[in-house]
């Protein structure tokens, strides 16, 4: 009997050590499971809530081409939410519970979506900067240790690059346009730059969950490492557009081989997380409202499925 006993924790640690993936039916520490549910559900909710600021512009897109692109982009984000909800459900939490946690505020979503998209240039800035920051994070998460999360990330990353490129192209058009259009682009840049940097979360020293996440390889790079990567690759793109990054302290540091940048306003960040951002209330209320208004659709679909199942059973008996 003795040699049949497997030490599950050793098996788990061994797999993590060898960069193997943990799959849904594998034993895992309860805290690993909880951390994943928190992170993946927050990620899923962000994709879905993130559809709102952009959806606001579908009817006002300046051309049919731009409208079709925006629709396709937003549809992708809904899809990303669904991939991630499914990945999260493999950890033993139901879709119903995930949505309930969003509605009660027990689960969070990325603060960035609590800012409004005020003018058309914002749609460009969101694609370029917000999706750009998300891409840096998601590319890194392709190597996360949880198999279903990793697979969702691989699929998402394949789809993201068009999101960023359409945003950049949109801004490029504005920057090559009239003085007023260029000013619109700069205004959007001014408002979206700092919130984009905050998307990576608090500095490593102040991050409550970082240590375990890195140890278990849920996250492969830290918040500060990812933020630096994003800044380093974005500066030249801004220069090409002829836009000024709203940070007087931003400058190349030869010795570090990275850009130095100014202080992030964490007070604002925490304030938005606490619910006091410009759109927190509106975003959540909208989700709850649509969910409740569509209850009849779910009821009808269930009733129809039940009726057909009954008919099929009847046919079998007869």
């Amino acid at each position: 009997m003795e040699n049949n006993t497997v030490n599950f924790e050793n098996v788990f640690n061994d797999k993590i050590g060898k960069n193997e993936y943990i799959e849904p039916k594998d034993w895992m520490p309860e805290k690993y499971r909880k951390t994943l549910i928190r992170q993946i559900s927050q990620h899923a909710h962000s994709e879905v809530i993130g559809m709102q600021p952009e959806g606001n512009w579908i009817t006002r897109a300046p051309s049919l081409r731009r409208k079709a692109i925006l629709l396709a982009k937003i549809q992708d984000e809904g899809g990303h939410g669904l991939y991630l909800y499914s990945a999260c459900e493999t950890l033993g939490i139901s879709r119903e519970e995930l949505i309930r946690q969003l509605h009660t505020g027990a689960a969070k979503y990325s603060s960035i979506f609590n800012y409004p998209a005020l003018n058309w240039a914002d749609i460009g800035a969101i694609g370029w900067l917000v999706d750009g920051a998300a891409i840096v994070n998601q590319v890194s998460l392709q190597r996360t240790s949880y198999g279903p999360y990793s697979r969702a990330m691989v699929r998402i990353c394949k789809e993201e690059s068009f999101h960023q490129r359409q945003g950049y192209e949109l801004l490029l058009e504005l920057c090559r346009g009239s003085k007023e259009q260029k000013a619109m682009a700069q205004d959007a840049m001014n408002r979206w730059w700092w919130p984009s940097l905050m998307m990576f979360g608090p500095h490593d020293a102040d991050s409550a969950h970082s240590a375990d996440s890195i140890k278990w390889k849920i996250k492969r790079e830290t918040n500060d490492e990812l933020r630096q990567k994003f800044i380093d690759k974005t500066v030249a793109q801004a220069e090409f557009l002829g836009l000024t990054i709203p940070d007087p302290d931003l400058k190349w540091n030869e010795a570090r081989g990275h850009y130095d940048f100014g202080k992030i306003d964490w007070e604002e960040f925490n304030n938005v997380i606490k619910g006091n951002g410009p759109c927190n209330k509106q975003r959540l209320e909208h989700h709850v409202k649509v969910h409740n208004e569509n209850a009849w659709v779910r009821e009808a679909a269930n009733a129809y499925a039940a009726k057909k199942a009954k008919a099929a059973k009847g046919a079998l008996v007869a």
Partner: protein
Amino acid sequence: MSNDNQFPLWEVFVQAKSGTPYKHAGSVHAADKEMALMNARDLYSRRNEGTAIWVVPASAIVASSPEEIGSFFEPSNDKAYRHPTFYEIPAEVKHI
């Protein structure tokens, strides 16, 4: 009270093009098989990823369990003779 039911879970398999095996793409929720197929199309073939789709109720899938992985796959461990490299063929013999 609103209806919160999010429908049963289905697993989706997509064939990229004819002649290739079906590969697990992910999951969808749907009330019945028609809805499962349509949701799978909308979610997993927005960019021509496939020419054919299977949807299977997740509850119908029977899976091996990781705890038994050792004994379950053990029968194939000691059968090196199932691999072509097990056999020593003189170098003069060609095309084998």
